[in-house]
Amino acid sequence: MSAAPLLAVQELSVRIERAQGAVRPCERVSFTLDAGETVGLVGESGCGKSVTALALLGLLPRPGGRYAGGSIRLEGRELVGASEDELSRLRGRRIAAVFQDPGTSLNPYLTLGEQLVEGPMHHLGLARREAAARAEALLARVGIPDARLRLRAYPHQLSGGQRQRVMIAMALACEPALLVADEPTTALDVTLQAQILELLQDLRRERGLGVLLVSHDLGVVAELCDRVLVLYGGRIVEEGPTADVLARPAHPYTAALLRALPRLDGPRAARLAALPGLPPALDVPAPDACRFAPRCALARAACLAGEPALAPFAPGRARRCIAPVQEVT
């Protein structure tokens, strides 16, 4: 691909300074995302996926969060070190976010209409009437019935699934190029989840929207994402095309996650292959060793002698592991 990617993240690190020491939830993370592409960021709680995703919007954990190096380029513009003014102009306008809990992301005191016109009036300079027309069209597009009436409704008058649709409508109100979706369907039932995933698919096809999907659910990622990045201990440990990674994981952590996952298809094992131990704490200095080694069935002496680099091993794929690929898959 010759054109610059929509998003290019290079060696991004985030620190959270605490009295007890620095937390490192995102360590030298690099990836790109093209227009119309959906990339999944997966991993268990505390692996740094949300911090990494929110850092793209200039939203760092408070108190104490800061960029500790690296670069985020959105449509060629550098975001690390950009002023708060500059970031405010981009947020909502070129990069937007949808969060897990639609209940707490909407203002309970304002009608949907009031919340939906705010972005376009502020960022695009639309008049209220134009913005309201756009809001109505958006609500209809995300599948809210009686859109015109609903503009006058308050968030509590909607169901959880409808609130999440409104959040997506609001995120798309200024036609951003990149949508960061942080566990957008985790709070929803499977039937509603399927509807929201379908909506995100359609919007990306219609608008060439780039989507960074943060999820702990490998099924959701399989359904929506072209490529997947697996995070462990604040680092990317594996990346590649989703179907390929899920069918032939090349990092022992990815393989272990997949084995620990109950399935609806295939034979049912009497016991799940549970991964022993817990994910690493991010608030202690990491030794120069593979962070997964203490839980890894394939660990060897060399794993403790230095952290493996994230190295390509097949077209489009990379992993942070020194064990032979055949042994992992």
Partner: protein, 333 residues
């Protein structure tokens, strides 16, 4: 298999818990919410019965009604033949009664169900004392759930979510329960920890002969743990049967839609299986409550309520399943 093991014929093993026509109503400003509207279920000794359905279908209300945390409007819950509903009208008394008689509840959020100020060991000791057992047995309880002796001195915030859930299970085991009700007990846990807790439940069940009522929305998890599955929709059982049948050859269109909505690792080509959302239990649709969302509904479904009738392997509340059974019962020409 010729004779379908309908509820009546399954009677060989007397149920540990028999729920009949259970109704739980909540009075709200907007009117009466029929959270449970005639639930029929059996839990057999030593089995795992999963109760599934979307939010608001009544899963948690069922769990709470069984332990007496909410009052039943009508119907019956019999534990080893003894009635829990009619005899115990006050909610508090029923709880005491069920705890004393071996029904325990494990909740979704383990940190919220432990006392934040007390070390785990003290919380287990308290549960043991209330059950009339020696508080010193808490070390054995910790070992039972895979916690180390040193965890006894820790407070909940010093433990991980998985460790807290182990502590909750240990506390439930203090009364030597026959029935453990797990209300979304692994839903808040990560994949690797969830697998550990599911394996723990399976080994406890084997070792102690526990029956488990497993309330969950994740059908893949249900397939892993359940011997039987009951599907709730708007406060009623719409399908029930052996897990392998319900999850691979569902009879009710709602179960079919739920299964088709689950994202698969191999990718799911089709779009959403059903539109819409669960209607409000304030004003349930007439006829079959699922008919407004049902892709195969016909005129009768909106006027007449189907009964929960036996299918070849379980029960289903659907006119189409009834018709299929009637057809299968026709003699060969």
């Amino acid at each position: 298999m010729t004779a379908g093991p309908a509820r009546e014929d399954r009677g060989a093993a007397a149920p540990l818990l028999a729920v009949r026509e259970l109704r739980v109503w909540f009075a709200t400003a907007a009117g009466r919410v029929r959270a449970l509207d005639g639930v029929d279920l059996d839990v057999l000794p030593g089995e795992t019965l999963a109760v599934v359905g979307e939010s608001g279908c009544g899963k948690s209300t069922l769990a709470r009604a069984i332990v007496g945390l909410v009052r039943a409007e009508s119907g019956s819950i019999r534990h080893r033949g003894r009635e829990l509903v009619a005899a115990e009208r006050g909610a508090g008394r029923a709880t005491e009664c069920t705890a004393g008689r071996g029904i325990q509840l494990v909740f979704q959020d383990p940190t919220a169900s432990l006392d934040p100020r007390l070390p785990i060991g003290a919380q287990l000791a308290e549960a043991l004392r209330l059950a009339g057992r020696d508080a010193a047995e808490s070390a054995a309880l910790l070992a039972d759930v895979g916690l180390a002796a040193e965890h006894a001195s820790r407070r909940p915030h010093e433990l991980s979510g998985g460790q807290c859930q182990r502590a909750c299970i240990a506390r439930a085991l203090a009364v030597r329960p026959e029935l453990l009700i797990c209300d979304e007990a692994v839903s808040a846990l990560d994949v690797s920890v969830r697998a550990q807790i599911l394996n723990l439940l399976a080994s406890l069940q084997e070792r102690l002969g526990l029956a488990i009522l497993f309330i969950a929305h994740d059908l893949a998890v249900v397939r892993q743990v359940a011997s039987r599955v009951a599907v709730l929709y708007l406060g009623r059982v719409v399908e029930e049967g052996p897990a392998e049948h319900v999850l691979s050859a569902p009879r009710h269109p709602y179960t079919q839609a739920l299964l088709a909505s689950v994202p698969r690792l191999a990718g799911r080509a089709a779009g959403p299986a059903i539109g819409g959302e669960v209607p409000s239990a304030l004003a349930p649709p007439p006829g079959c409550a699922f008919h407004p969302r049902c892709p195969v509904a016909f005129a009768r479904c909106s006027t007449e309520t189907p009964r929960l009738l036996p299918t070849p392997v379980g029960r289903a509340r659907c006119f189409l399943a009834e018709a299929a059974r009637a057809e299968a019962a026709q003699p060969e020409p």
